[in-house]
């Protein structure tokens, strides 16, 4: 795998920061670290996000297929440790995970405490496709009025996410990636509604 751990991770971090501070904004990281080889285990963008955020100080948990392989792969490259779902700082949900399992993730993950709301999990989720087509309407900090997005299979988790985030400032933040290395973020402050039929 060829990735510049200084400049590529910086560029990916800035993309995540831009997306996290402007929910609904979709940015591509396809040009960054394009030599990344996730060996078909997960999307390249998932791997690159992990390389940017993880190190020996944090823990992660993988949901989906090929769990032992991805775990071994990410631990080797980032030195982060594998933890139980309830304890993990970063939870990766690979594409094709079924609804019940995703529901379980949102119920089980760390949501922080009132004194330390930052001690919550960040979910990095793979989806088939991300676009700005009007399917969901986002509101909240970072969005001037409203933002429209379409996230494939979002019906699997939007209600569960709302449940996980109902006691603000507790909640989970999400980074969503697609196979074309597009990226979008949903901090806990963003509210999601179905688009009204136009």
């Amino acid at each position: 795998m060829i990735i510049d751990v200084v400049h590529d991770t910086q560029a990916i971090f800035r993309t995540i920061l831009h997306c996290m501070s402007r929910p609904g904004t979709i940015e591509s990281i396809a040009d960054i670290g394009n030599q990344a080889e996730s060996q078909g285990l997960c999307y390249d963008s998932t791997l690159l996000s992990a390389m940017t955020l993880l190190d020996a100080e944090v823990s992660f948990h993988i949901i989906g297929e090929n769990v032992p392989l991805i775990e071994a792969f990410l631990s080797a490259y980032t030195l982060a440790t594998v933890a139980e779902l309830q304890e993990a700082d970063y939870v990766f949900i690979t594409n094709g995970t079924n609804k019940e399992v995703i529901h379980n993730v949102f119920s089980q993950v760390k949501k922080g405490t009132l004194t330390n709301p930052q001690q919550s999990a960040t979910i990095i989720m793979e989806t088939e496709k991300l676009s700005n087509d009007p399917q969901l309407t986002l509101r909240g900090p970072g969005i001037a009025t409203t933002a429209n997005v379409q996230i494939a299979a979002s019906e699997f988790w939007t209600a569960k996410r709302e449940e996980a985030n109902q006691e603000y400032p507790l909640g989970v933040d999400m980074i969503i990636v697609d196979p074309q290395s597009n990226m979008m973020c949903l901090p806990r402050t963003t509210t999601i509604h179905d688009c009204e039929v136009s």
Binding site: V6, Q10, L53, T115, P117, Q118, P141, P187, T189
Partner: protein, 290 residues
């Protein structure tokens, strides 16, 4: 012996830790996220918080501007700018519009910020309740319980004493209707620039080891009572003695010889830009006269 420092001075582990804290700060607007503040080659209290944020986010493409109390040329600003430039090689500027990262102490520039920019503010005391509660353990609990009576009481006591809220800088603000936040010691004049700002605002306190943020398009309300509405510093009828600008934050200066009071733009690069613009107009006028 010439030693070559790592890009942006920090080792990658330090950057990652600060970056993770920044993302949490953006997700919980106004909440002070603890971070492992690193030793810096400048003294704590001299902008280490802001510097650590800048070094963690900066990349080769960025253009940096550093200001101290509105001035690009003060010792603190120049040295921070030099340090970042020497360790990263990024371009520096004094033009607000050209910068992608603006690190500042005590001011938000007069020129409106854009979506492409990140504002980094240096914070000495990030805790708005510190004046009423010295214990960090207790203030954390007060934030958790959404109990800001201490901040309100401070303003109330000022009204009792002086007939108005007497915060000259660092007037507390409520962010996204949840957290009361110290906006860093910016004048009240600049508090309004934080509300629904187009740029992302990051605040870093190195000595106190806290990072917090105001994402763009977020509600930021200065604390005030119904019968004592929030007021910014007024410069009615005043103008800058150099560029004649009005409606900007100005320094009050006194002529030592005559005792006369006069005013000058606090934001030096804004003042310079205004002067250059007027000079240009003047030249055109001369051209026509010929």
């Amino acid at each position: 012996m010439q030693l070559k420092t790592h890009f942006a001075l920090f080792d990658e582990g330090s950057k990652k830790e600060i970056r993770r804290a920044i993302l949490k700060a953006v997700a919980i607007p106004g909440y002070q996220v603890p971070f492992a503040s690193r030793e810096m080659p400048i003294a704590r209290g001299w902008g280490t918080g802001g510097l650590q944020l800048t070094l963690s986010i900066i990349g080769k493409q960025d253009v940096l501007k550093v200001i101290d109390q509105g001035a690009d040329e003060s010792v603190n600003a120049v040295n921070i700018q030099k340090l970042v430039n020497k360790t990263t090689g990024v371009a520096t500027t004094i033009e607000t519009g050209e910068a992608t990262i603006i690190q500042s102490r005590h001011r938000i520039p007069e020129v409106p910020l854009t979506e492409k920019q990140i504002m980094v503010l240096q914070v000495p005391i990030p805790e708005p309740l510190r004046w009423v509660e010295p214990s960090e353990y207790k203030t954390k609990k007060l934030h958790a319980e959404n109990d800001y009576s201490g901040a309100w009481l401070m303003l109330f006591e000022q009204i009792m004493k002086y007939g108005k809220t007497a915060t000259n800088a660092d007037h507390p603000v409520l962010v996204h209707d949840r957290y009361v936040m110290a906006p860093s010691p910016i004048p009240r004049f600049d508090n309004t620039k934080m509300h629904q700002s187009e740029a992302l605002i990051l605040l870093g306190a190195g000595r106190e080891k806290k990072v917090y943020a105001v994402p763009p398009y977020t509600n930021v309300t200065s604390l005030a009572f119904d019968d004592h509405p929030f007021e910014v510093e007024s410069f009615d009828g005043k103008h800058c003695h150099l560029c004649q600008a009005t409606n900007v934050f100005m320094d009050e200066l006194v002529n030592q010889d005559t005792g006369e009071t006069y005013y000058q733009c606090n934001d030096t690069s804004y003042c310079l830009a205004e002067l250059n613009e007027h000079e240009h107009v003047l030249e055109v006028a001369v051209e026509h006269a010929r």
